[in-house]
């Protein structure tokens, strides 16, 4: 522990990041530039999220880290270990016990409370990037609220696929002002972004931080005749039977066998502990 400052980053850097976070909270959805530090992990491993978490953590915090909804994937495990080593904070897999949750690709199924912070790892923070590569121009578009281009992307989707095929990183408008990339969460999670918890987004390589304060209006963009839909696989979970959670499709053999299971492992385990059973788990029912 004595080899590192608490949570790895020095206090000067944390102060700089907290300033960026505060600015982000003050201007919901606005991308605040910050001086991203080298972290002892490669870009793409959540260096932005890790820096935001490091700036938020206090010794009393309890940290949960998920990747695609699961606590036990390599990325989640290594980030959790990193903070166990450098901050000595307690960690947990239980959503309702955690005070800080760092995530990649999911929002937990269990609604968050006012006492919780959700930190997202963001690869590409600029939602306008793919149609307008010039940074000077995208900044101007944000400043002047010129967001027609976002609908051009959705238009292209419909013209090619017959419906809005964007299913991850589905663009949203925050508090009626800034259009924001919610990071590659499934669009199923978009409605959850109107929540009691504080949401912080960190992009390490792109050096941007943005935020959604609690109880902020978050609207998914769409067309009048092609309204937004928070879709998911049309199945209940095969392990816990939940009909309202986001599911991963798992191939179980090479004969076309497959099952659908909750991507949120803690949520699924909690339901099974409470006695709920899905199709492929029935024989074990108590």
């Amino acid at each position: 522990m004595s080899d590192y400052n608490f949570a790895y980053l020095d206090e000067q850097t944390k102060r700089m990041i907290r300033r960026a976070i505060l600015k982000g909270v003050a201007i919901p959805g606005y991308q605040v530039p910050f001086a991203s530090r080298e972290m002892p992990m490669p870009y793409g491993w959540g260096t932005g999220g890790v820096q935001v978490s490091a700036a938020c953590l206090t010794p009393e915090d309890k940290l949960k880290v998920i990747d695609q909804g699961a606590d036990d994937t390599t990325n989640a495990v290594s980030i959790r270990k990193f903070f166990e080593r450098t901050a000595g904070v307690e960690t947990t897999e239980r959503t309702n016990e955690a005070t800080v949750i760092q995530t990649r690709h999911r929002i937990p199924e269990e609604p968050l409370t006012e006492d919780q912070i959700l930190v997202y790892q963001v690869p590409i923070p600029e939602p306008l990037r793919f149609l307008e590569p010039r940074e000077t121009e995208t900044r101007k578009m944000h400043a002047l609220e010129e967001y027609g281009l976002m609908h051009v992307k959705l238009y292209e989707d419909i013209s090619r696929h017959g419906h809005i095929a964007t299913s991850y990183a589905y663009p949203v408008k925050v508090e009626g002002r800034y259009v924001m990339d919610p990071s590659p969460i499934p669009k199923f999670d978009n409605p959850k972004m109107e929540m009691a918890g504080l949401q912080l987004f960190g992009a390490g390589r792109e050096q941007r931080i943005y935020a959604i304060p609690p109880f902020t209006r978050v609207v998914s963009l769409d067309f009048e005749d092609h309204p937004f839909e928070a879709s998911k696989a049309d199945h209940p979970c095969d392990l816990c039977g939940a009909g309202d959670s986001y599911l991963d499709e798992v191939i179980t053999d090479d004969a076309g066998g497959r099952m659908f299971v909750c991507s949120d492992t803690d949520f699924c385990a909690g339901r099974q502990d409470a006695g709920y059973r899905g199709r492929l788990n029935a024989e074990e029912a108590a």
Partner: protein, 256 residues
Amino acid sequence: MTPLLSVRDIHKSYGARIGCTDVGFDLFPGEVMGIVGESGSGKSTLLNCLAGHLSPDRGEVIFDTRTDGPRDTLTMSEPERRMLGRTDWAFVHQNPRDGLRMSVSAGGNVGERLMAVGARHYGDIRDSATDWLGRVEIAADRIDDRPRAFSGGMQQRLQIARNLVTGPRLVFMDEPTGGLDVSVQARLLDLLRGLVREMGLSAIIVTHDLAVVRLLADRLMVMKSGRVVEAGLTDQVLDDPQHGYTQLLVSSVLQV
């Protein structure tokens, strides 16, 4: 009658070199003004100053706005000017690549300006796009193709559709027929002439092709070394050029 556009004393230098200087004129609703002159005479510089792409060192570009009447666009706020740029103004570039999104389908290219001003009904946007593709003679079944798959002439017509879809009142064009072969040019010119008449458009067209101005322009300005050396009704200027340079210009091309 209030001019649609009143240009006063425009001057633009690039360091010590003069881009254009001392330019002023009025453009009335429904009028098409041609600007001709040799390469480097300042045509594009002037056009870009008028359209808000370059800021001139001095002068006024007063546009008769729909809501507030005549306003100097050079002193407008940037959001206002950009709004004008996607509603009442249109700009057709010589190279369609500069005026199109090459990675977006033809329909998306035409629909962009509609969405930029708030259109949020996919079916309506698509209907407008289909209609406009038809008006510029692009088959409806090409609506989902990218501009890359189009010929140069088609790309240019697509650029025109993309610009006119919001019903602008003033269109700036910089060599709209340049870079196209002669038969394609002729067809594009016909099309442009039809649209200008039908929509009652006002336009400022830069070209060094006298055939283009003969066909499209009511009035003509001749530029040389950054200055307007002669101006007047197109037929007058072309049939009875007064300035030595204009005489040279007219005599150097086959009679049209």
